[in-house]
Structure formats: structure tokens, C-alpha cells
Amino acid sequence: MLFRDGKPDRAASPTSAALTPEMLKALIDGVSAKVSENLRGGHAGAPGAGAGVGHEFDSVETLQRLAEAMTKSAKPEEKNFDNLGEVKKVESNSGKNKKTLEMLKDIK
């Protein structure tokens, strides 16, 4: 994937061609820029009332550790359901979907 201004430039990116050293550098720079942009922005959705918004982290690993800690399996004190929602059969355009699947094979 090539990057422009720190953002993925998918239109200009080859999907299967080998990466040249220049392309690799652009990729690494792009990823770094994107990560810093994400971290600088802080995040919404941290646990607890009001917590998290505006938090800053030095690395993605810190954020990842926090995400893991926050999803440690918690058991409810009581729950009176195991399955929710009913299954509905939805028709599809299978010809179109097959074509889409073919194209998705080439996308990383």
C-alpha cells in the first residue's frame, strides 16, 4: 500500500506487485504517520463515565494492552438469555456476489 500525506493511497497502490525499497519506505512512513495521528487524537470509548476521551498514549502497544484488559471476560450476576434475535433468510444476487468475491481475492 502506498501512502500520501500519511493516508493510504489505495488507488495508486499495487495489489500484488513486489515492493521496491522506495515503496517500502513510503509504506513505513505512512504507517508511522497514521499511528501518530491516531494516538494524538486520543480515543472515545474507554471504560467508565467520561474516561478515555482525550487520553494520549505513547504507543499502540499500550492501547492494545488496555483493550485486552478491558475485554477480560466478565460474568454477569444474572442473565436470562443465551440466544438473541431471530434468523431471517435474505435473498441475494449470487451472480453479483460471486463477482465481488473474485475481486476481493486480489485485495489485501
Binding site: A67, T71, E77, L84, G85, V90, I107
Partner: protein
């Protein structure tokens, strides 16, 4: 879902208002399970114990509080005539104002999703684009929390942009004179409970994606404030009676909804042109526009989108605008196609 008749690869639309889980049958049809992503919180008093033991409401008890889930939450609020619906998610992301939001979401999600068909089944879950009108927020943490949850359930998860998933489901094309149509190329819009998501894609790859806030739930709250109608009643009225082709001028709720819908559509359309200019991308052909989401299902919604797009400076031509074939499920269907593709790639 009858597990032995399904292809491995599951799509999950993790929406602010609704959760949809989609798998595909070998004949190409989809099996979709849907549940409202909402709660009604009650203190665990004796009265609440009595009410719940006498009723069939579905609930979970956590940290000394009851949370009535899904459609039952809406029914109970409407029956009581007071109280508010709360959501584990807000503006497309985990609700930062709700204590233990991620656990409450997980209890519901686990019961809608079920176990994987096999350990490590591929799964794609929808994530919103980063909001252009709330730049201090991004989706990274939300994405990580969901990914961890799905891994713990035994899946191999990957995120997919919500609007891109709709695009995969609808397969729009771009027409360029003298060339064959470009497949999986177009502009996808998804109007959900928390956010409106946009994605312009070229041959299945996102060129620009972003979201704007102030969508379904925000509109419900604003309409509630200006008309003095409880939110739960606004939701019911909107889902049953709103017709944007023929707005009841004697009904203040319908009038207010119509005005807020126009503003929401304008906000999205204004931003897509800006984002394309920023990205320096341009399109030589005419793009097909595909629209999905619960908020887009009101009669007359597509006509309003068409009018807004026609009047805007987008930086691309429009080939046509249409509502997705199954507007409520298309994000989960597109995510399912991506998961099926992941499974095929993994098997090779």
C-alpha cells in the same frame, strides 16, 4: 442458525442502534440475525425483582443493576411512560458515558453471534470511519476492544469500514466512456443510529472514507427536545409513520424529523466533496451511489439524497442513486462477503 448448512465466514454489523450477524448458505442466500442494541437500566430494587420475575423481559444483571435488553427495553420504557433508553454505543463507538459499556455490549453481542463454526472462523466486523465533525475522536480503541472480544470467542476477526461493506454488498460500478464499467467502484453511504458513514471506492479499495455524527439517535433526541415528546415515542413514530415524500404538516414530530433529516443529508454531501479534494483523487467517470442503513429506510429518503447530490459540488458525476437491496442488512452482508474471501485466502 443451522450451522451445518452455512459457509464459514461471518459478517457482523456492530451498529449503535442495531447488531446484525450474517452468514451465507451454500446456495448464496444469507442468514441474518438482528437485535436492537439498546438497554433500559433499573436499580435492583424489590419492585424491579417482582416486575422481572412476573414478566418475560430479557435482562442481564451486572454490578447490582438490571439492564433490560433490546426490543424489551423499548417496550418497557413506552409502557412505563418515563425513563430513557441507553445504548452501549454512542456515535458509532463504545459509549464513554456508560460504565462497563463494553461488557454490556459483549453480553448482547455474544448472544446474537453465537459460537464459531470452527475455531478461528474468519469474521469481519464493521467500524465507522473517523468523524470529520468530531476530530478529537477516532475509532482505534473501539476497534481494538471489539477485536479482542471476537478473538476470545474463538474467531479470527478483522475490521471493515461500514460504508465499504455496503459497497461490497451492492457492487456499484463507474461508467467511463469507451471503457468497460469499473466494478466495485462508487460512492457508498450508510445512515445508522450513531453516524453517517461515507466511502468512495475504486475497484473495491477505499479512496476516501469518513463519518459524520449527528445521525439517527441525535435526531431522535433533538426532536424529543423541541417537541416535548419522550425519545422512545419519537423512535416509534419515526419507524411507523415517517414519510419524507408526504410529511404530515399537522404533526410537529414529523415536521421536526423532516428538517433534521435534511440537515443530516446536507452535512454528509457537503463533506464528501471536501474530503475528495483533500485526498487529491478525481474520477473520470460517473459513479453509482448506494445508500443503506435504518435511517435511510424512510420513504422519500433517497429522493432527498438525490436532490442534495444534484445541488452539490462533488468533484464527480453521478450515474444513479439507489437504496441498497436490503438496506438494513447490507453492511453485515458485505462484511460476510469479505469474511468468506478471507476464509478462501486462508485455505489457499
Amino acid at each position: 442458525m443451522a450451522e451445518n448448512t452455512l459457509n464459514p465466514g461471518v459478517g457482523v454489523d456492530v451498529g449503535t442502534a442495531n447488531l446484525c450477524v450474517c452468514r451465507q448458505h451454500p446456495d448464496g442466500t444469507f442468514a441474518v440475525r438482528h437485535y436492537r442494541n439498546m438497554l433500559f437500566e433499573m436499580e435492583a430494587t424489590e419492585e424491579a425483582n417482582d416486575l422481572l420475575s412476573r414478566s418475560k423481559y430479557l435482562y442481564v444483571k451486572s454490578e447490582g443493576r438490571y439492564y433490560i435488553v433490546g426490543e424489551d427495553a423499548l417496550k418497557l420504557v413506552n409502557a412505563l411512560g418515563h425513563g430513557d433508553i441507553i445504548r452501549p454505543m454512542q456515535d458509532g463507538l463504545m459509549n464513554p458515558n456508560l460504565k462497563r459499556a463494553q461488557h454490556l455490549l459483549n453480553y448482547i453481542l455474544e448472544a446474537v453471534l453465537g459460537k464459531p463454526l470452527a475455531e478461528g472462523e474468519t469474521l469481519r466486523f464493521s467500524v465507522p470511519g473517523n468523524p470529520v465533525d468530531k476530530p478529537e475522536t477516532n475509532n482505534l480503541f473501539h476497534q481494538m476492544v471489539l477485536s479482542e472480544f471476537f478473538k476470545r470467542q474463538g474467531y479470527s476477526p478483522k475490521p471493515i469500514n461500514e460504508a465499504l461493506a455496503n459497497l461490497y454488498s451492492e457492487s456499484p460500478t463507474m461508467e467511463v466512456e469507451g471503457e468497460p464499467d469499473y466494478q466495485l467502484t462508487g460512492y457508498s453511504m450508510s445512515f445508522g443510529g450513531g453516524m453517517a458513514n461515507s466511502c468512495v471506492a475504486l475497484r473495491g479499495m477505499s479512496v476516501v472514507d469518513f463519518s459524520t455524527t449527528k445521525c439517527g439517535d441525535f435526531i431522535d433526541k433533538q426532536v424529543s427536545l423541541v417537541t416535548g415528546t419522550p425519545v422512545a415515542r419519537v423512535i416509534r413514530a419515526k419507524e411507523r409513520d415517517l414519510d419524507l415524500n408526504n410529511v404530515d404538516s399537522s404533526n410537529p414530530v414529523m415536521q421536526a424529523l423532516s428538517i433534521y433529516y435534511d440537515e443530516m443529508i446536507q452535512r454528509v454531501v457537503r463533506n464528501v466533496g471536501k474530503e475528495l479534494v483533500k485526498s487529491s483523487h478525481s474520477f473520470d467517470g460517473a459513479l453509482e451511489v448506494v445508500v443503506c442503513g435504518g435511517t435511510a429506510m424512510a420513504p422519500g429518503f433517497i429522493e432527498r439524497v438525490k436532490r442534495a447530490l444534484d445541488a452539490a459540488d462533488l468533484g464527480f458525476k453521478i450515474k444513479g442513486v439507489h437504496l441498497s437491496t436490503s438496506p438494513f442488512y447490507s453492511v453485515s452482508q458485505g462484511a460476510c462477503l469479505a469474511a468468506l474471501s478471507d476464509a478462501e485466502k486462508g485455505a489457499q
